[in-house]
Amino acid sequence: MMQPLLFRALLTGTLITATAGLLQAQDAPIKFGSINEADLTDRNFVADSAASAVVLCDFGRSYFSYGGKGFSVIFERVKRIKILKKSGYEYASGRVPLYHANGRDEKLTSLKGFTYNLVNGQVVKEKLNSDAIFKEESSANVTVRKFTLPNVRVGSVVEYSYSVASDFAFNFQDWTFQEDIPVRWSEYRASIPEYFDYRMVMQGYEPLTVTEQTKSTGQFVVSYSGQSEGGGFTATRTAGGSDTYTPLMTNYRWAMKEVPALREEPYMTTTDDYLARIDFELAGTRMPGRPYEAVAGSWDKIEEELLNNEDFGTQMNRGGFLKDQLTPLLAKAGTDPVARVAAVHGLVRGSIKHNGQSSLRATSTVRRAYDQKAGSAADVNLLLIAALREAGFKANPVVLSTRSHGHLLPDMPPLLSRLNYVLAHVQLPDGQEMLVDATEELAPSGMLPHRCLNGQGRLIMPRGQESRWVELTPKERLTSYRQVTMALDENGGLRGSVHQEHAGYQALAQREKLRELGEKKYVADLSAGHEGWSIPKYAFKERDQLQKPLTLDYDFVSNAEANAPAGTLYLNPLRDFGMEKNPFLHENRRFPVDFGTPLEETTMITLTLPAGYELAETPQGLVMDLPEKGGRFLYGVQSTPAGIQLVSRLSLSRPVYSAEEYTYLREFFARLMAKQGERLVIKKKS
């Protein structure tokens, strides 16, 4: 299987060291307040004429300073943008989210900005005013500062600069090189004293133009008054004074040049997974005179912390209150372990409604969530684990990152914030194992919600060394099966009956649709998709048997448009049952196609002709394969005594296709549609 071509590398230790001592020599790529006048004319932007705006330069720098509260991280940024179209005006506004918690915060300082316009050949420079800066409490811990620059027109250059002083060493500013407009130069520098150990993760599909790493000696003066306690250095003092520390500094410099805009395309997880970006995670501290203290460190540590936590590990053993409900259900389920798991799953799924929120930790206790009959994903699935344990299963949590929360890969630095979801792993007595999630009211036991189909999750075992990665691959496909029996009359009218089954993820989708619309509207919607149809009779089966395919049997009538028998009839039976539009209309793609699940779609038609008519021309059969067993389309037409048999079967065997395979996929669908568009020519026998 081909791997998606995501470029993701852990930079720590793997970085090629550039010449030392360069940092001081390196000038900043941009000087705030003075622009190149040529940027106010059109001639520098011929190549970008299609873009609404261009980032000329985005330059960030992070370094440490030492003050009253200990170390803080200072982030400085200068950004300059050329506005090329009116649709690019939005880039003349900026936003800075600031985090605060427990009396510590991130502070925005020295926010400045200018707009430059060329008026009658003269550069006119206007500054950002304080009345154009606003504040929004966006959530309990985040305040967003927003600002907009004055007198922006097509052709303006805007720039702004600001600093953020952060009390949170763990919140070292990440850097994104890529945006939804082109970026000419994006550069980030980080100066990190040896006291702090960060892991750096680079991701994206764009190459770095510059990666440098140099060493130098830093200097921090720690002043203290009598009896105070130093923050980061924590030595208790009795007399006032100051100490000077000169740690070894590592100075990093990364830059990208001419970064293309990133656009959203169908079948992506979240755009954040595809952006060229570098993330920082504090792994530990190494303060003078103290041993190394791991902060994030290992999965072992994260797992231990979770297991010992009141809102995670503890809850999984609190299922005792379910005993009375479980006993009769388990007795009814018999001895088959899978059936018993399903019984527990059914109980949890039916007693607590998922409120739509993904989460890793319980809101309060599983008992309380059960009494409230509603909760987050963690509330639901920790209750599920507790119930499974109560039922005697070896059930343990799998922690993961959902599709919208971004990739989680085993080689990434272990970090709690990468996780946002938990579900249940069950070790069955026969050595088999299964993953169970109870957040989807209409998904059977053993089916993962689509949001969880995101690579791998971490199985946390009570004994740390048994913890491991598990694949979050879907066990089921997006499966549709239709069997159609229909009769053509000599005027061209059709009537017939359809037996249709939706299984796997398609069953989930269709049950959800059915629940939302109700049977009547579901069927009305079905007939709306088939022009000229009426559906006099229909019956749904297995609506509530989630382990079984959702079945719909219906009759349809499509009246002839002509009033008289025709000598030749042209029929395109797959028009009503095939694909409407090639999902891949764009010629190329830079990213993998991530469907989440494999797909299987089968339609079998038996067509009876009016007496005295015959198939004049039989379309050619077709079998078409995607490279590396990626998928197959099969089409065949056959005349039999029972009538004309037509088969169309599409299967896509993988959830993810690489960007290289895109061309094949697109062509595959194009040919499939052409085949499904072929008509049967039916003639009166002479």
Partner: protein
């Protein structure tokens, strides 16, 4: 565009009842079967009480209890209460009951989330909300919410619409308004069921108005029909006098509202002298009135942009014109005020006009003067012999001169004048203006693959849908055009846009596309099939299940003109041409025909014109028949025979 400043119209409320005791409430067994029919949820009880404390303050109290019958009804299981700097929530409570009416739990304060209602385009807004969700895993169940909002923004009184959506029934709903002595309530009743009457009384010197409805069965929306909220009972209320942050006003007529708004925004039109001189110079020597206005409007569009700031009274009051001159941005009020000042400097008189903007907004209730607006535009009366008006949208940097599209057109606006203005209609575009005219050349090869070039002109409201495309990046243009094309399989080789000249009376955009169409007309043996109507297939509405209940509203008039020139390879010739179709009905006219030309090509010409009209439900079958015939004609196939086979 996008200006929703006169923010949230709050709901109303009811007498606060004592908190739930142990006795069961809202047992589902007590629910009449007729109310469960076709319903996802049933309003068991909905009491709204509006207490007008004074001209400057109102208190709205709501109690609602809703039984959720199935998952599709679960959106009624949560409640969002708005607040802002002018609206304060005094309390917000809730509880949930099982089918038997036993209380399952009460809402705790930690279950209520406080959220910013930042609309995504405002730079700053004070709109916030408190949200609570009482969804349950099993149905049916009943939620009960109670809340009270104190408002210092009494320009808006409650609108009572107890049954605003489909598949939602109402067991009982009441609406009560308590007015202080000396302040009259203005109200308007609509579609109250027979026997429902206003109960009016005086309690301790206060006038009390009360309405009540019971047992409203669920309705279902039909195609081409009025929305359910236009079919069900409603009571609209409005103040006769009000005061917002010290600005008092009367509201007994449109003139009153006009005068108050005018005064609130008066004396904010001073421009820097250099700019005044600049405007005079800009129009100097230009004698044509329209051309003078156009020059000023062009200046506005080139030098300003829209930024939304919605804070307190700022929702009603404009920033001074001098601010916009200095910063180059503003919200709808500020930009309109600025444009008015620019025009004034150029010697042109213009009036601001309040309007209810939005693509799907129905017109305001013109017979009920009240604050129904959310946007402001500029109305420039021309002095020319033939009375005419130019309307200007000041918040959009690309809006064509004088164009009021689907956002502001075809509705009433209130002129703001010192002596009190009146309602005036904004331009309406009919079938002749809302035109889509397309010419396609399709070059088919012997294998059924094709190349095509398409030139499409869209004018009037047809232009609205594509207006934004021309300014986008090429890859974004390709993406949007591809998604819109009603074709299964194609590659877009070229996309280009060219607007009509600015002097055109209605705006238009020409779109030129080049396409590769693999497998457009796949051969089946000796024959090749192609639908000459390449892109303009109009499908028929789904036949209604059961009898049509509501009248038919066709709100959008348009014309479609299509010419498709099919260029065939020598090896193909038509076996038979579909017969021409000509339909003339009150619901629309249609024609399509095919013609073999001497050069061997085939020309397809189609014309569809749909009027803006309303007719009785009895005519629905005839309308459906018309649409079916159009659909059938649109799908007609041309059969080509291979001459070399």
């Amino acid at each position: 565009m996008r200006c929703i400043p006169f923010a949230f119209i709050l709901f109303a409320g009811s007498a606060l009842t004592a908190w739930a005791g142990p006795a069961p409430k809202y047992a589902v067994a007590e629910l009449p079967a007729a109310l469960r029919e076709n319903a996802h949820a049933v309003e068991r009880r909905h009491d709204e009480l509006l207490t007008v404390k004074s001209a400057a303050r109102t208190v709205e109290t709501v109690l609602r209890a809703t039984t959720i019958l199935d998952e599709a009804g679960s959106r009624w299981a949560s409640e969002l209460v708005y607040y802002s700097s002018l609206n304060r929530i005094s309390y917000f409570r809730g509880a949930v009951y099982d089918a038997g009416g036993r209380q399952l739990r009460q809402l705790r304060s930690q279950d209520i989330r406080d959220i910013s209602l930042s609309d995504g385009f405002s730079l700053a807004t004070d709109a916030r909300g408190r949200v609570a969700d009482l969804s349950q895993p099993t149905y049916p169940y009943t939620v009960e919410f109670e809340y009270e909002v104190v408002s210092d923004n009494p320009l808006f009184y409650s609108t009572w619409k107890p049954q605003a959506t489909e598949q939602f029934s109402v067991q009982e709903a009441t609406f009560k308004v308590v007015m202080p002595a000396g302040l009259a309530l203005r109200f308007q009743e609509r579609r109250l069921p027979a026997g429902t009457a206003l109960a009016q009384s005086t309690v301790a010197g206060q006038q009390v108005y009360a309405w009540r409805v019971q047992n409203l069965a669920a309705l279902e929306e039909e195609t081409d029909a009025p929305p359910v909220s236009e079919l069900t009972p409603a009571v609209f209320t409005a103040p006769s006098a009000f005061e917002v942050e010290g600005h008092a006003g009367q509201l007994n007529s449109w003139a009153d509202l006009s005068r108050w708004t005018y005064e609130l925004n008066a004396n904010r039109a001073t421009l820097p002298p250099a700019l005044v001189a600049g405007m005079q110079a800009l129009v100097a020597g230009e004698t044509d009135e329209r051309a003078r206005i156009r020059k000023v409007y062009k200046f506005l569009q080139a030098n300003t942009r829209y930024i939304s700031v919605q804070l307190g009274l700022g929702g009603w009051q404009t920033f001074p014109a001098a601010d916009v001159a200095a910063k180059g941005y503003g919200d709808c009020k500020a930009l309109t005020n600025y444009c008015q000042a620019l025009l004034s400097a150029a010697g042109i008189t213009a009036h601001a006009a309040l309007i209810k903007a939005g693509a799907d907004e129905h017109d305001i209730r013109t017979d009920f003067p009240s604050s129904q607006f959310n946007h402001v535009v500029l109305c420039v009366p021309l002095k020319a012999a033939k009375a005419d008006t130019v309307w200007l949208e000041c918040t959009d940097q690309t809006n064509p001169f004088g164009y009021m599209g689907s956002f502001t057109g075809n509705r009433h606006a209130l002129l703001l004048l010192p002596e009190g203005g009146r309602l005036v209609p904004t331009p309406r575009y009919g079938a002749a203006e809302n035109r889509r005219q397309r010419h396609a050349d399709v070059y088919l090869d012997a294998n059924g693959n094709a190349k095509a070039t398409l030139r499409t002109l869209r004018t009037g409201l047809e232009y609205d849908a594509v207006a934004g495309l021309a300014g986008l990046e090429l890859s974004e243009q390709k993406k949007r055009v591809s998604n819109r094309l009603a074709l299964g399989n194609f590659t877009l080789d070229k996309v280009a846009f060219q607007p009509l000249p600015t002097t055109a009376t209605i705006p238009g955009l020409v779109e030129t596309l080049a396409l590769t169409l693999p497998g457009l007309a796949p051969p089946s043996g000796k024959r090749v099939f192609i639908t000459p109507n390449l892109l303009s297939r109009l499908s028929a509405p789904t036949p209604a299940v059961g009898e049509r209940q509501t009248d038919v509203w066709l709100d959008y008039a348009f014309t479609q003109l299509d010419t498709v020139q099919l260029h065939l390879p020598a090896s193909l010739q038509p076996e038979q041409l579909p017969a021409p179709v000509q339909l003339t009905t009150p619901f629309g006219t249609y024609s399509s025909q095919l013609q073999a030309l001497p050069d061997g090509s085939i020309r397809y010409v189609r014309r569809l014109e749909m009027p803006r009209t309303r007719f009785a439900r009895a005519d629905y079958p005839a309308y459906l028949e018309f649409r079916r015939k159009v659909s059938a004609a649109d799908k007609a196939q041309l059969v080509l025979l291979k001459t070399d086979a």
